[in-house]
Symmetry: C2
Subunit: 305 residues, 2 copies
């Protein structure tokens, strides 16, 4: 098996591109895909103050590594979700990654901010699905922290598999509002909103995994213990089933959605974005979903320092 670029020994096979690469040319390909994503959607400028949301998993650490290599000087941001050993290991992985590279890692702790409660406890108390509660809390603190510390872009490690699974989820119920808003870049649509970008959206989970292994980036392999049975995992498996028998279909499904599909859907909500009457963050309601959650939990929200 030969690299299609240099005819040297290929290490990575990419059936979706009908390609094979040696290590050097796989890294080149990977960086090109990230650069293309950044350029196509005008995600980042070299003078942006970028905060990368890191979890300790391969996608977010690979994103931090690549953005650093491409010269964007990003800082990392880790949220301790209070999920026992899983959170402790995740934080240690992020800390040692940052230390080895001399990068800055910022952290906040959900149990510290929310009266000692972790995601599991919040999920139980509110009888809400843990992934949904976790997503809500993370979105809130990503935005809140970046705003407070004057970062003007938040970068997340969502890869092509994540985005294709979200697309499939939105399509099974034909949630046209979500379909119109699903994008690799969420612009600053409100004074209290920080722009969000997904520079890995053209790369699959397998590709980010290969990049991590080749570049010896230690990451935690385990999925979050609370995510077991999550629908997003089922959609990923379904798309992988299709991809196995028809390589390239997953990529086409998602990238053609961005190119041709999404413009067919009208966004009814974006126009009605207003400020939460409690915290001032953007919302389509009077009080934002995060403040509703805080109310329901009867905890005192801590102000970020």
């Amino acid at each position: 098996m030969k690299c299609i670029k240099c005819k040297g020994k290929a290490q990575i096979k990419l059936p979706q591109h009908n390609s094979r690469f040696c290590k050097t040319h796989f890294i080149e390909y990977f960086h090109n895909q990230v650069s293309k994503a950044i350029k196509n959607y005008r995600m980042l400028n070299k003078d942006d103050k970028v905060l990368v949301a890191v979890s300790g998993g391969k996608d977010s650490l690979v994103l931090w590594e690549v953005l650093n290599q491409l010269g964007y000087c990003p800082d990392g941001f880790y949220i301790d979700l209070g999920i026992d050993d899983y959170s402790r290991q995740s934080e240690n992985t992020c800390r040692s990654f940052a230390q080895q590279r001399g990068l800055d890692l910022h952290t906040v702790s959900i149990p510290e901010l929310m009266g000692g409660l972790g995601i599991k406890e919040i999920s139980r108390k509110t009888r809400r699905n843990p992934c949904s509660v976790c997503g809500l809390i993370k979105r809130y603190y990503f935005n809140h922290y970046a705003l407070n510390k004057k970062y003007n872009v938040i970068a997340t490690g969502h890869n092509l598999d994540d985005e294709a699974a979200t697309l499939m989820s939105n399509l099974t119920r034909w949630q046209t509002g979500y379909l119109s808003r699903q994008s690799p870049v969420l612009p600053k649509n409100h004074p209290a909103m920080v722009k969000k970008v997904k520079p890995l959206h053209r790369l699959t989970e397998k590709e980010t995994g290969s990049y991590a292994v080749i570049n010896r980036i230690p990451y935690i392999y385990e999925e979050c213990p609370l995510a077991e049975g999550a629908r997003s995992i089922l959609y990923k498996k379904t798309l992988n089933y299709l991809e196995f028998y028809s390589p390239g279909t997953k990529r086409q499904f998602y990238l053609d959605f961005l190119k041709k599909g999404k413009y067919n859907f009208k966004d009814s909500e974006q126009a009605n974005l207003t400020s939460c009457n409690t915290c001032g963050q953007p919302t389509t309601l009077e009080t934002c979903a995060f403040c509703h959650l805080i109310e329901r939990l009867e905890v005192k929200k801590q102000v970020l320092s």
Copy 2:
């Protein structure tokens, strides 16, 4: 396991509805779904002259049976595709079904109409995928025959699995024109076009199979030998994978598309429907795809008697 209607012994379990039925109430449910489809889309009136396209498979024979039971007096139409034993067995199955019920079956033979060539030979000669050639030829003769014999509706046995697979296929490439036109009813948009309806579109392949077994309708079990490896089969398997872990998702995906999704897509082609300059049938080109095929095959097209 008890029938949810009469508490008698249930024979059929429908996880997508969280329901179980005895034979009698399954048949009632099945007829109700067909009636609902017919009513929602104004598919048929009792005085329509209806031609049911039958292949010898379960879906089309079940459709013929149900339309007959619901009082629509439909005739059957069988196209011999010239696929060796498979076609002979299919035709015999249709003939004995019609005979036992005193129904009228009309037949035409592709080898007779097209210079001795069957689908396999036409596919080879034109180097086109057999399913695509077969679909084109069948669509042409369904319409041509119905028009000649003054039928005003053609009913086909497409079930929910067929339609959901087509939807998935259209979505993987975001073919917005196809998405806008995918419908359980294709209206008469041209003087030489006969209305087409799909009364089984709310029922799954498993349900039509169960209906055939319960009502002792003999049908050919084999898939068409030329369809092996067809993409439609892969999409069906993919959706069945999802359905297995999340019952009801396939139905929701397709029915919510009809309810909420499809109106988002614009149809660019329908407005440009014109008459083929060779045969007069509706087309978006100067010469229709069927006449192009005939030209390429260099056979003399037989006129239907």
